[in-house]
């Protein structure tokens, strides 16, 4: 009788203990999984909200996107660069006497550079300074890497030998995944944008298609 009186509640206590342990263990693991899932959803939602907010307010800034594409085009821009150099040299009474292309170097960051050497002939140093000031503030982007100026003792004519790099870069092909945050333009990028906005763009004439014109026969 003594054993029965104590044993029965003791067994029940054991069962209740096991049940409580199971409930807490299962409950904890399931709750943890759900909490993690909720935190991932909240994080992704917050990333998307930031992205949406940024994309909504970007419209104004993106108006200048075309200028950056002209400044750093997708394809070889050397013809445009030479056009800008010739244009600046004509405006500064300078003759482009030789142009020789050198090597194409593909950089790690996707930028390709084509270096070419140019020989210029001019009469005065201020013309050279004015020419290169105009050239360096024109798009597409280029960099004058080296320059030698020699004055002929015979006629005083100045010969400028210079090495110029023109650049282009392929467009990005992938967007940042939706779960990763995107950032607005940094201070450095805004400073670059300001500089780019000050560049003179090449003149582009768009030829409009016209219907064929009947040519008169001059021999009739």
């Amino acid at each position: 009788m003594n054993a029965k009186t104590v044993l029965f509640p003791a067994v029940l206590i054991g069962i209740v203990g096991i049940l409580i342990t199971v409930v807490f263990k299962e409950g904890y693991s399931r709750t943890k999984i759900l909490f993690n899932e909720l935190s991932v959803i909240n994080k992704n939602t917050s990333v998307l909200e930031d992205r949406l907010e940024l994309l909504t307010k970007l419209t104004e800034k993106l108006e200048s996107a075309d200028v950056t594409v002209v400044t750093l085009p997708e394809k070889n821009s050397v013809l445009w660069v030479l056009y800008q150099l010739r244009d600046a040299s004509v405006k500064n009474n300078t003759i482009v006497s030789e142009i020789e292309t050198r090597e194409v170097v593909k950089g790690e960051n996707g930028i390709t550079a084509l270096s070419f050497e140019v020989k210029l002939l001019t009469e005065s140093l201020p013309q050279i300074f004015s020419l290169f000031k105009a050239f360096q503030s024109s798009a597409p982007i280029s960099a004058v890497e080296e320059m030698t100026i020699t004055q002929s003792p015979a006629n005083g004519l100045l010969t400028v030998d210079t090495k110029i790099n023109s650049y282009w870069a392929e467009f990005p092909t992938e967007l940042v995944p939706l779960t990763e945050p995107i950032t607005d333009l940094t201070t450095g990028e805004l400073a670059t944008l300001e500089r780019v906005m000050g560049l003179s763009m090449p003149n582009v004439n768009i030829l409009t298609a016209e219907p064929p014109v009947r040519r008169e026969n001059p021999f009739n």
Binding site: L34, N42, L48, E49, L55, T68, T71, L72, T148, L175
Partner: protein, 183 residues
Amino acid sequence: MANINLLPQEQKASGAVLSIGKSLTRLVIIGFALFAVSVFLVIAVISILTIRISSGRKNYESIKEQVIAKEQTEQRFFLFKDRLQKIGSIYSSKNIASELEILSNVVDKIDEGVVFSSAALTSDKATIEINTDSSANLARFLARTVQPESYSKVQMESFRYLPEKGYVIEFSYFDGTKDSQEI
């Protein structure tokens, strides 16, 4: 009323055992109550979390649709940012923009009696060669140019005297801003 116990006296539970049994029974009741409360709590927490996850998912999908609707703007923005980053890296690459500025400043200070002969510009210095027929002109040129302006250092590279040209001197001017960037 008197207690009637039909069990034999030897089978009757002792007082101490009875009291332990009662305590254990109480513990069993408390345990069951705890179990019920914990089951209720776990179910409640799981239900609340499931509801929040479901509404969070709906909200996420709705914002995702709005972002996808702006995909063109997004593509344009990535292209824009990519161009700006690359243009920025080109601007910081080797060029002689500041050296050309230095040369222009130095040439502005060349006055009568001093003749510009040649110049060589690289991304770290502007070297200029001048000639003059008198040391007085040279001294005047030096006084006018050797002043801390846009350059941080002036170095005399060579000094010659040629009977047909006079004094032929070569100076190198180093860009001050590039020096401070290197530091």
